[in-house]
Amino acid sequence: MAHDLAHDLPHDAAHDAHHQPGGLMRWIQTTNHKDIGLMYLIFAFVMLLTGGAMILGVRAELFKPGLQLMQPEFFNQLITLHGLIMVFGFAMPAATGLANYMLPLILGAPDMALPRLNNWGFWILPPAAIMLTLPFFLGVFGVGPGAVDTGWTMYAPLSVQSGWGMDFAIFAVHMLGVSSILGSINVIVTILNMRAPGMTLFKMPLFAHGFLVTAILLITIMPVLAGGVTMVLMDRHFDTHFFTAAGGGDPVLWQHIFWFMGHPEVYVLLLPICGVVPHVLSAFARKPVYGYKAQVYGMWGIGALSVVVWAHHMFTSGMSVGGQLYFMYSTMLISLPLAVLFFCWIATIWRGSLSFETPMLFAVGFVILFGWGGLTGLVLADAAADPQYHNAYFLVAHFHYALYPTTVMGAMAGVYYWLPKWTGHMLDERLGRLHFWVVMIGFNLTFIPQFLVGLAGMPRRIPDYPVMFSEWNLLSTVGAFILGASHLIFIYNVVKNVRGGVKSEAKSWEGAEGLEWTVPSPAPHHTFDVQPIVK
């Protein structure tokens, strides 16, 4: 077993290059970190488009008041699947893809520590995605009750009573959780044990620190969610009463279990990008990263605090005053290490020799928009103010300002930054900039109106609304379709980049630093068969 898990490196790695199967089998059997990273990224992007298409259906329904396109039950399925797909199908695999592709290059390792486990971790994902979405597509064709329709939070007792789409979702969550735990194990072992000689933890690039905190968080929280959905499954089919009040259970227990996973999950999505962005800002400011150690401590501080603040999501569920005060203040405390990161990001580019190529645009866009997400989060962390906003569109706008700039724009900054290293070609800057500005217009047009209708009292998760909210909803829907269209520009740009373009040198960007820029572009199949030594 030990031998299976630990693929011989670099001895067997060298074999791979010579005995690699062709066609589909290459991708099924591959243990190469670049192949697996690429598959993760493509999978994540397909899921982004799938989840995005679903929410465009929702926005189309909300284009104007009055039910036009779908029944409320179908609407519920769309918003539920959108949430589950974006978090578990897109954002987490996208981060794992970046980690897989870049960690060995950045750490000076020949591959991830456990390549076969890596392959297994990826190939669990497609069946999980099918499991999650199959009831939806069957439902579209009139077979079965349709997909899970509880909202991505799967609150009990609704999740105990819901149709069999819920069972599919439970097993899908189990599989997605196993995949992310396997990926996390690989990331931790690679970072702790595969760094180039001389690369101490405090010489390690921030990219690796971001992923190390993330992986440790995932190993802490995903098993708890797995335990929770197993309890739901048992309540549904084995007559237990974990969450049913009639049998002595407690529906609020589910909320605690879910948000113990759900809140750190936000930081699981954020912290990898906190590792990516300093690389980009530093390269295009042509200055070293400012406050390296402060950023490392900031990320660890965020990770530690993230697991003790979960119940601020439950202020409206009823809680003792003492509980409210604790969760309010502890939540606000997270803004301190986050503020340290913001300060360091701004100080990194302060008085730098700035240029705004596409990766830099996306990195700066992330900093600005995520700042809005953070500030509006402080409003929601206030236990007294929260009931006004919590179940309104204000909350929807807040968490999209927190998550979209992070998971999409931050990831785009990383992808555009390292794309020349992956393909060997410089990207089309004109298209990249067009992509950025269409994203900025589309995103803000979608979500600024949602802040406004939320403040005015429009509840979330409803397929219809009073006429007074019409104008802002119309604008929000137009913005959503613009945002959706922006991804077509990205696809075209990447395909164009893969097919050709100006050849990239080993160091694609003038100000770029790090081991990954010492190898040719595109990076060879096995990167560091001979170890670099870091002094």
């Binding site: 030990a2 690989n186 595969m194 690369m199 708890v224 797995a226 870091v534």
Partner: protein, 49 residues
């Protein structure tokens, strides 16, 4: 960060990777064990009475 770019000295490293492989597996089992333990504890803690 600044130290990374300076040195690309090469060493024969096959033995080094072989030595690390054993530690990789041990660490992986430890992490996997922790994940399974957290899963079981979360079920056990809230078991029906």
């Amino acid at each position: 960060m600044t130290a990374i770019k300076d040195n690309q000295a090469s060493v024969a490293d096959a033995q080094e990777w072989a030595r690390r492989k054993k530690n990789n597996v041990r660490l992986a089992y430890l992490m996997g064990g922790i994940a399974v333990a957290i899963f079981l504890i979360s079920l056990w803690k809230y078991r029906p009475l």
